[in-house]
Amino acid sequence: MALETFVVESTISEEAEHYKQIVSDGLTDLVLVRSIDKIKVVITPEETLFQMVIVLRGGLAPIKISDFAQAGVGTFGESEVVIDIENEAYLPQLLVALWAKYGRINVHQPERKTVSVSCEYPLKEVPLIEEMVVEDPQRTLQSRLIDLAIRATPEGFRVRYHSLNGNHFIFVATEDIMKKEWIEQAHKMLDELLGGEPSGSSS
């Protein structure tokens, strides 16, 4: 696994090892391995407490059309922009974005790796299309991160605290009334994980 740190701790070490598998399955299912740098989970069943801190890998830039395709003016006489796709991975998102902007009737896909957009002034549209953002990994990452937290927590731990501050994610869950020191503990865990760097938490 490409994580720098992946620690799961519990009162009994074998049980922690077993739980690590659950977290690891969650990471694989949600394709989070590449986005996470460090992760530490501490489970204290006697106190019904689950703490998880995650340090994300930063620098996930939004994906623009120019990142995976080339846009240009179509054949002479046709007022259209032709987009040649190099990487098909973002094709569905591309179509959705184009439909939203130009309407379904104006977007055609004559062949697998070509999409054409009918518009009045193709020359003006080309730079606009090149700069269009089709996916923001940071946004989908957040929802996947929350999903991971909910999957990894024992089901009954419904009292939850979470904080996402830049690349630092803290999650504490319990069944009883949330104690302040548990949250502080989690913040300390994050500091340790960062190697003394301040976590920059606002709470």
């Binding site: 009994i12 659950i22 489970i43 999903d147 999957r151 009954g156 009883d176």
Partner: protein, 311 residues
């Protein structure tokens, strides 16, 4: 004196499997369930002990496999504290599937409020539903503290034998009110495919079979007035509507009764009036009651000590 019946599963092609059914009928055995899947068929049956070799010879001829299935004729409740979708796939799914391979009929029961430690509880309806089965298998998680100290409150009001599965190695004695504990099958969020996991499931099937044997011995001390399979056969002969029920097991055999998947209000009188060759009706030898599962009919056969004879 009735012949001793042995439970077997036949796995083979659809082609000519009717020969096996004919032979079984001639020998006086019973077909409990036939599961067709494309060109394959799985037959769960009870064969008279002395004639097993005949069926074995025929199945070898048809290039099928005949193997013993000690869990046949049991209905097991696989109880999970939760069946929440974001924890899929549950290990309880694999547990239930593996028990089915052993010949058991399993029902998965996800408790509405079974999750957690302090907050875990079961409803009266759920307890009654679980008690309709032969054995309750509780599928628990990873932490021994939870399994020993917190989860056993879910066993309150359960009158049938309780088997517990979980991750850590714990002694059965440490878990209050459990009759058996099987380790190595805790909470996982992937399908159980790896070798040690499958070995754990094999051990589970063996241990559950042991538990079934214990219950069977208990019943043998005060035998049932009539075998549940015989009631099944009479229902099939006397209530033709059962052929139109589309569930996989329209009549589910239990160790001391059976579940008939016909609406209670409409059919209970006809079920009660089922006649045996000896001149008795079913209501004289068994209790026919509404089941907690949908609107099915539950039949519990009475014991020799209650009636005074065995047919």
């Amino acid at each position: 004196m009735a012949a001793v019946l042995e439970p077997y599963i036949y796995d083979g092609g659809m082609y000519k499997h009717g020969l096996i059914l004919e032979l079984l009928e001639d020998l006086g055995g019973y077909l409990i369930q036939a599961i067709p899947a494309a060109s394959e068929v799985t037959l769960i049956m009870l064969i008279p002990e002395k004639d097993v070799h005949l069926v074995e010879a025929l199945s070898t001829k048809l290039l099928g496999k005949l193997k013993k299935s000690p869990l046949t004729g049991t209905e097991i409740a696989v109880v999970s504290p939760t069946l929440a979708y974001h924890h899929l796939p549950h290990s309880a799914c694999d547990v239930a599937e593996y028990l089915r391979r052993g010949g058991a009929n399993t029902n998965m029961i996800g408790l509405a409020r079974g999750m957690g430690r302090r907050v875990a509880l079961s409803a009266d309806y759920e307890r009654k539903l679980i008690n309709e089965h032969d054995i309750a298998l509780f599928s628990f998680g990873t932490f021994s503290d939870c399994i020993i100290n917190k989860k056993p409150k879910l066993f309150e009001g359960i009158e049938i034998p309780i088997v517990v599965t979980g991750g850590p190695d714990i002694k059965t004695e440490d878990i209050p009110n459990a009759n058996m504990y099987i380790g190595g099958i805790g909470r996982v969020s992937h399908r159980l495919r790896k070798e040690p996991e499958l070995e754990g499931l094999d051990t589970m099937n063996e241990m559950v079979s042991e538990m079934v044997d214990r219950v069977r011995e208990e019943i043998a001390k005060d035998p049932l007035v009539v075998l549940p399979v015989r009631i099944m056969k009479e229902i099939k002969d006397q209530i033709p509507e059962i052929e139109h029920v589309l569930t996989p097991a329209p009549i589910t055999i239990q160790l001391d009764g059976l579940r008939v998947k016909l609406p209670y209000d409409e059919f209970h009188e006809r079920v009660e009036n089922i006649e045996f060759d000896e001149g008795l009706t079913l209501s004289e030898v068994a209790k026919v009651m509404p089941s907690k599962m949908k609107n099915y009919i539950l039949i519990k056969v009475q014991r020799k000590s209650e009636i005074g004879f065995v047919i």
